[in-house]
């Protein structure tokens, strides 16, 4: 079947009508070659599995790390004497992570820091640490968006700082930032597509492997794109429902 786009007859005089005609005629064959022969669809399935696995665990690390960093920064902001050292550490973390490309972070994690570690573990840690920086800023803004009067009301009732934060501020902050955090995870899912750089067989890599075997870029890569799109659409749909549920107590 050859490669449609690099076929000399199209390079000589590109005929868009012919292109789509051939494409349509050959679609079945392309699909068969890319996914059915030698069970190549299994690349896609296991790739998708890895992508979801990396995203899921990275999200968990991101939430824990992000919450921790946000708490340290907010506490330090309220009382400059507290956590001075930890706050400086957090600032460096945020600056470095948000100031460098995630691919570079991934390569450094795998080749410099965890030289002998499992590729998947390296990817999870790299994306988790990366996501934590963004989640931290989202959560911090959420905590600071809660009206100061709420803290004053809690404290004036005799609740201490900790109880006021846990029972009054956090529930409201979480509600405010839940959609933003969910959005962060949707973008994380797409960002994990660079995991192939350290040889992780994720969804993108799976498509690329099939391309290199079949010399057909078109079918596997568009399929990969479609799979990402489908998952993101499902997640976005879920996000809409979540937002509606969260705003339930605002209804008069």
């Amino acid at each position: 079947m050859g490669n449609l786009i690099l076929n000399p007859q199209y390079l000589a005089g590109f005929d868009i009508g012919r292109f789509f005609q051939d494409l349509y005629m050959n679609l079945g064959q392309h699909f068969y070659d890319a996914f059915i022969v030698k069970n190549r669809y299994k690349y896609i399935i296991s790739g998708l599995g890895n992508t979801l696995l990396i995203t899921l665990f990275a999200v968990m690390i991101g939430i824990v790390l992000g919450t921790l960093v946000a708490l340290i920064r907010v506490t330090h902001n309220n009382d400059k004497k507290k956590f001075r050292f930890l706050n400086a550490l957090c600032s460096i973390y945020l600056t470095v992570i948000r100031g460098t490309p995630v691919v570079v972070q991934l390569l450094i994690t795998y080749y410099v820091i965890y030289q002998s570690a499992d590729k998947m573990v390296a990817a999870v840690i790299a994306f988790g640490v990366n996501s934590g920086a963004y989640v931290a800023e989202v959560i911090r803004s959420g905590i600071q968006s809660v009206d100061k009067g709420q803290i004053e009301a809690g404290r004036s009732l005799g609740l201490n700082q900790k109880t006021t934060m846990i029972k009054i501020v956090f529930p409201q902050a979480l509600k405010n930032v839940a959609p933003a955090i969910f959005n962060e995870f949707i973008s994380l899912l797409k960002e994990t597509s660079v995991a192939g750089y350290i040889g992780v067989q994720d969804l993108t890599k799976a498509g690329d492997v099939i391309r290199s075997i079949t010399y057909d870029a078109y079918t596997p890569l568009l399929t990969v794109a479609a799979v990402y799109l489908l998952i993101v659409m499902i997640l976005t749909r879920f996000l809409t429902v979540l937002e509606r549920r969260l705003s339930a107590s605002d209804i008069r």
Partner: protein, 244 residues
Amino acid sequence: MISVKNLEKTFHTSRGDLPVLMGISQTIEKGEKVVIVGPSGSGKSTFLRCLNLLERPTSGEIWFEDEEITNPKCNINLLRQKMGMVFQHFNLFPHLTIMENITLAPTSLKLKTKEEAERSAMQLLERVGLADKAQAYPAQLSGGQKQRIAIVRSLAMEPKVMLFDEPTSALDPEMVGEVLQVMKQLAQEGMTMIVVTHEMGFAREVATRILFMDQGQVLEEAPPQEFFANPKHARLQDFLSKVL
């Protein structure tokens, strides 16, 4: 009950220091209803907020029931349990039902069991005529209802003093009455109250003493009769001519 000695408060802003309270000395006895009036920016609210240390005084002493609360060793949380505060913007907790708003502090501080707290909350709600709103959320209430709930929330801690920071200033005019009614009832029951307000009618009717503040100082203090009929300070005469 409360005595304030030479209280000063200066806010440190990016545009320099802003002195708000410039030496206030006052003694407030048990059962008194002190109303503080004055133009905006005179330091009324700051004075009130210093009493339960929502603002840290720059210098001076505050004593509450023979304890110096401005002393860093004083347990500020214990102190605040005995001083209720009602805010201009209600500050109800929007994520909790009315019942949860009222019972949060007594149960979190383990002063009452959940059942006890809910029982006394219902009694308080009945007193202000809002028992049917126990399971509602703050967003479903009118301003006047929210403020009455805020008063109930403070009362649930069984405080010895109630501080009111312009409790009716954020309300629609027709809702002011219902909140003042609750406050009057509270005054009749003998609660010690310190009220910052612009409601001169309330001051005249309920106060045992009115303080007039301007530019961080108490310029005049008198019982309501004398305060309105015979103001001595020129600044107060000017103020009263504008608000009455």
